[in-house]
Symmetry: C2
Subunit: 456 residues, 2 copies
């Protein structure tokens, strides 16, 4: 699609020569994301301030041209791929930390601030922002909010929805608005803040966020527990979550993943039926009792070994298996299908067993690991050739059906984007999907914001 000249003129006027491009090389660089899908946008603009976004959306609406917001493209669902062309608006240059206010426990940031940069800026104040995707050094806060992206710490500290006070944004009409509060409590009208979080740029473009800060505990202890089999480990997870000391990470790694990590990461990776990596945080004087409480729960039928790291080096060694996993998977399958299903914690044994059966049935290698404390597992299908890739896609549909049958849901932290859209009717009733379509129309009457994503 060629953009109308008058639209391109407006983009140039609003974003300047340096902030707007229709050059193909530039457009190619903004055509893809970590889903490995891609589609060429017709223009790329680089936002620097809120009023530009109002102008952008207004002129695009006039011409019924899609607008796709982009942070750093680290998402795995195709949520930032401009499948219908249009304008990609990159927030990478809109990356100021506007204010850090430790007294009031909030930080105001622009959407292009990197998650990792924010954490570094918060450190001297003794605070952190809990959401911690693995891509933290390279992913933007705007992207975290758009996808409700989280990480290991969610088990104790929650996802972006629990850690955001307010937003400034631009709806699909081009109208700017603020929602939420600067306070940690609010009951003044509908919660539009949480509605925008996880909406993947389909309702509004976020231009500023007021993030709720949490005091950073000064102590941390790492434990590693290996088990006879996945079922013993999964039961230990349920025991740990049923006692009062909530760990700040509770990661599960199945035997297939452990073997893979050991093949690639060496002998420091243990041989076991399954492994849990557990972290507890708190003020230093409270750590011994916390470690003891969690250890008590981790022990039980099927435990092989429980180790508590005593030094930073030991901590690193304990994490080596988890760290070796990503490169190991890439070696086997450059086309891995990376899912992040969630089930209630007590259903983890059934999930893991069921996935094993599906892996056999479809003859596709599947490794399973992830944020077990939330019941949120990364189910990675690793097809090695085209035939396996086809079988993997059939298998995936059955994985989702299994998850739903266990009262789980499609995604815990990656979102839906392009790649899981077709499965939404598995997870949500027609009436719920209808309401979501109505909400979409309420914010974006002409459907110009990130078309083709999230809703089927």
């Amino acid at each position: 699609m060629k953009l109308p000249d008058s639209l391109v003129d407006t983009l140039h006027a609003v974003f300047g020569k340096e902030g707007c491009s229709t050059n193909e090389a530039k457009r190619l660089a903004y055509a893809y994301d970590n889903s490995r899908r891609n589609a060429l946008p017709d223009a790329v603009v680089f936002a620097q301030e809120h009023p530009q976004i109002e102008s952008l959306v207004r002129v695009c609406r006039e011409h019924r041209v899609p607008v796709v917001a982009r942070g750093r493209g680290t998402n795995t669902t195709g949520a930032t791929v401009p499948v219908d062309g249009g304008v990609v608006v990159s927030f990478e240059r809109m990356n100021r930390i506007v204010r850090i206010d430790p007294e009031n426990r909030y930080a105001i940031v622009e959407p292009g601030v990197l998650n990792g940069d924010l954490q570094i800026a918060l450190r001297p104040h003794g605070f952190f922002w809990p959401p911690d995707p693995t891509s933290s050094p390279w992913c933007s806060i705007g992207g975290n909010l758009a996808c409700n992206s989280a990480g290991p710490r969610t088990v104790k500290y929650g996802s972006p929805r629990e850690n955001t006070l307010g937003l400034r944004a631009v709806a699909g009409t081009g109208e700017g608005f603020r929602c939420g509060t600067y306070t940690s409590k609010g009951a003044t009208g509908y919660d539009l803040t949480r509605l925008l979080i996880g909406s993947e740029g389909t309702l509004a473009l976020i231009t500023e966020a007021t993030l709720k800060l949490t005091p950073k505990p000064t102590g941390l202890r790492t434990l590693r527990a290996t088990y006879r089999d996945v079922s013993s480990a999964a039961h230990a997870v349920a025991r740990i979550m049923a006692q009062p000391v909530t760990p700040c990470a509770l990661e599960f790694i199945d035997d297939v993943a452990l073997k893979l990590a050991r093949d690639h990461g060496g002998d420091s990776v243990p041989v076991a039926g399954a492994m849990l990596m557990i972290e507890v945080d708190g003020e230093p004087e409270t750590l011994p009792s916390a470690v003891e409480a969690v250890s008590r729960a981790a022990r039980g039928d099927g435990l092989d070994e429980l180790r508590v790291a005593q030094t930073a080096e030991e901590t690193q060694a304990l994490w080596s298996a988890r760290k070796a996993l990503s490169p190991a998977q890439r070696t086997i399958s450059p086309n891995k299908i990376n899912e992040d299903v969630v089930v209630p914690v007590s259903r983890l044994p059934e999930l893991v067993d069921g996935i094993r059966l599906l892996s056999k049935k479809h003859d596709v290698l599947i490794v399973t690991f992830g944020h077990a404390g939330n019941g949120n597992l990364h189910v990675n299908l690793l097809p090695r050739d085209e035939a396996e890739r086809e079988r993997a896609h059939v298998c995936l549909a059955e994985v989702f059906a299994l998850v739903i049958s266990l009262h789980g849901t499609l995604s815990g932290e990656h979102g839906i984007g392009l790649v899981k859209r077709e499965f939404m009717p598995l997870a949500l009733q027609p009436s719920t999907l209808n309401l979501m379509h109505n909400v979409k129309a309420a914010f974006d009457p002409d459907g110009i914001l990130n078309p083709g994503k999230l809703l089927p």
Copy 2:
């Protein structure tokens, strides 16, 4: 308004003889709430199961008759007063705890379950549901969700929006739907769960809730700190919130409130410029260090005395002032205006000083106390006669303007209902209000759900 016969026939058919009344005495009993406003409904029905609500909303929509959901009417904003008549649907008989699932840290409840009854049922499992309005023994979970009602514990554990996983509900079309998850993490589509929470029955009627449970710490310590003046106390609040140990209650009481409590509650209430009641919880072995951390922050310029209760009796004695406040206020003014504004914690000194000036300017007694850790203060205007009542209303508008100027908002936990609706444009931009109206239309196209509430 007389209801059409065919509508009344349907109500009788759906709810049975015992579950439906158009009798005036019965209707009178459901005409009011704790706001002391009242308006007679045309019928009252008593729900017992979800399908009844679908039938109710469908038939009322056909006849364009309002439907007003009611828990136990403890709200203070008129949110359950049927100002346009219609049918009040009471959930008091739909009060089953469907399931308590400690392994997965959730409980499934019907909306009529009382908050206090749920807490008692959770106790043997070692869990609690954090929202704790003062009316806990008498208020329903459905009402808590509708108003996003909270209490002192919110400072550490959050409000209903942070403590609810999923809902079943009926939209203004009569269509039933489920939203949210049974898991502690989810990124599958728009967050309709949080959108319904705090929407005061204007978007949908909640028929079931999946509540997120939190392990109940087994230890609790109570501290009382008295200060020279309100400003010193407010600064101590900011210091306490800027260090890592978050108290599970951080309550402020100003000098006017203290004097009032002392006049009515006796000598155990201290004479001071301001007082903080602080509670810290945790596992018993962690309490001494937590008490020490909070005490360190509570100390500082203007501290008169810091006491830590050593026994249950001492704890009760320390809370006596806070407990004496409500009856004391009622004695002075049966028509107290009970607000619950919020400002960022560091603006508390300005808020308290500003309120003092407004109290003088309008010659109306105002007492200020409440959940200081969230910046959420109850500003109670106590007019003693009609002339004072008129002045109080003028004063109230200026209180709200002050709050907004300090980057605060109208309500922290009571909601908007009928009584604060006119002030919404002070707190929210026209564009934000427009979007809220669009969202309302998306759920309730004919505007039959709780008309006249929340949105101006």
